[in-house]
């Protein structure tokens, strides 16, 4: 009887593992099958021209550049906030401090908040400050979204750094600045992984940019202009009745997927390489 139970579960376990693997492969396959035919050099190097949405020329460069701008500035802002916060939590506050525990709880909760809430809130902020849907609006929303992701990711690494390292460095007569350099080097793999993770999360998210970044056919030249983004490009074009346009949505989906996959591999590669120096 015992044996039977074990056999049944073993079968179920292997089954579910295979199922999950197959689903991933199937997803990638479908995206490639639909997107590859429409993927051309024109597609990624041109912005939509006049009849784009009726099936004529142009490409999705507006969306690609828009997404790149959005994520670049968001990551910079998030880094400026996350790194000091993590350093403070781990090296200034004592381990058991209540503020640290409360802060971590808050960040965990923020991590779980859906992106549409950030989008809605970003929208509220924009209205409050009188901003139009723009690059800046999108950046604000995305930054809010990825700050908890970044903090959590870097914190995971920072927690592992033993306090002794800080003390040992200080006792050797290092200045505060030099101590920070030592710690920063230890944190580097964590920070790069965090950046890559955040890019992954932020670049593919539609709900944050839906209200805040607008949509346009051109590449923004200033922060106050609206901007296109890859997720929205996919979403809007998919709902078009013109088949040509739908195909472009698939192409955009493929571009986005390729970007994400590259980021994923890069994240694993760097975290493994940079861990060589770690304690």
């Amino acid at each position: 009887m015992k044996k039977l139970e074990e056999k049944i579960f073993k079968f179920l376990m292997i089954g579910s593992t295979v199922l999950i693997l197959s689903v991933l492969l199937y997803i990638l396959y479908v995206i490639m099958k639909k997107g590859l035919p429409s993927l051309s050099w024109d597609m990624i190097s041109k912005i939509p021209s006049g009849g784009f949405y009726l099936g004529k020329e142009g490409g999705i460069l507006n969306a690609i550049m828009g997404s790149l701008y959005l994520i670049f500035f968001s990551v910079v802002i998030s880094l400026m906030v996350s790194v000091p916060v993590v350093m403070y939590l781990n090296f200034t506050l004592r381990r058991k401090s209540r503020l640290a525990a409360f802060a971590r709880l808050t960040f965990d909760v923020l991590f779980g908040i859906p992106s549409i809430v950030y989008g809605a809130f970003g929208f509220t902020l924009m209205i409050y400050f009188g901003l139009q849907a723009s690059l800046l609006g999108g950046i604000i929303a995305i930054s809010l979204l990825i700050i908890p992701v970044m903090i959590r990711s870097i914190d995971e690494v920072a927690i592992l750094i033993p306090n002794d390292l800080v003390e040992a460095t200080k006792s050797l007569g290092a200045t505060n600045y030099e101590t920070i350099k030592v710690i920063a080097r230890q944190l580097l793999p964590g920070i790069s992984t965090a950046v890559l993770l955040s890019i992954g999360r932020g670049i593919g998210d539609a709900a944050t940019v839906l209200f805040t970044a607008g949509y346009t056919d051109s590449i923004p030249t200033s922060l106050t202009q609206p901007t296109a983004s890859l997720p929205l490009a996919i979403f809007f074009q998919l709902s078009s009745p013109v088949e040509e346009v739908q195909n472009r949505a698939y192409a955009a989906a493929l571009v986005l997927t390729i970007i994400i996959l590259t980021l994923s591999f890069a994240a694993r590669y760097f975290s493994r390489r940079l861990s060589k120096n770690k304690i």
């Binding site: 689903v23 906030v81 403070y88 808050t106 908040i113 809605a120 709900a207 997720p231």
Partner: protein, 283 residues
Amino acid sequence: MLLATILSIFILFLIGGGLLAKSLPIMQEKSLWTLLTTSNWRPFKGDFGFASYILSTLYVTAIAIAIALPLSLLTSIYIIEYASPRILRAFTAVVDLLSGIPPVIYGVWGTLTIVPFISEKLAPHFVEFSTGYSVLAGGIVLAIMITPLIISILIEVFSAVPKEMREASLSLGATKWQTVKKVVIRKSIPGIVAATVLAISRAFGETIAVLMVCGNFTDLPKSIFDACYPIPALIANNYGEMMSVPRYESALMFAAFLLFFIIVLFNVISRLVLIQIDKRYQL
């Protein structure tokens, strides 16, 4: 640095407060009870009943968890306890990849594969007609989205069970499966709870993927093959029109606040539950 920390913590309250402030107009106009339990949604007439949206969200989330949790548990147990280290490494890579895929891609894939499948192959066995854009489609797509999340947490959690504990059980003559059932899983309960909470939060609030496959139809779904309209989809679809009708903006902000509130509450409660489990059982 202290300033940055305080500011970051403040974000949570800022969001909550901001959304609440924006929802006040509609909350003042209609009672909370009306808002939450009626399903009349006619913004141009001033009727805002969220009930069917709330229910849609619950249905879709419930289906997603019902599918994802058992699958994730089974897979994680297999990967950690039974598979070779090489498979573990390969599978972790797969899971990382899956969890990085943006929701919109799942939405695209869902419309291409799941929706037709339901409409043509599955639903005809059960109902007369279904477009395929349905509660079930939303649930399935969501399930696929949250599975990598649950698995990656569970893999960490199961790996954290000390080897000695497993060996202690095996040395008593237990089989591997008995050890898994009675020792590994038991020791991992806090982690499993935490993973589930995070997954539910993610499923609850997922917008674009569900939006693309759920049908966006306001009437209360009568079966899982009917279209539905979860709250995030409501907000996303109507933000463009919300300035045109009085109270519409406030209603949508209320919807956002609902999401926010439920998820925060859920997170806090589960955190408290975990602390209690830790205190009492000291697993």
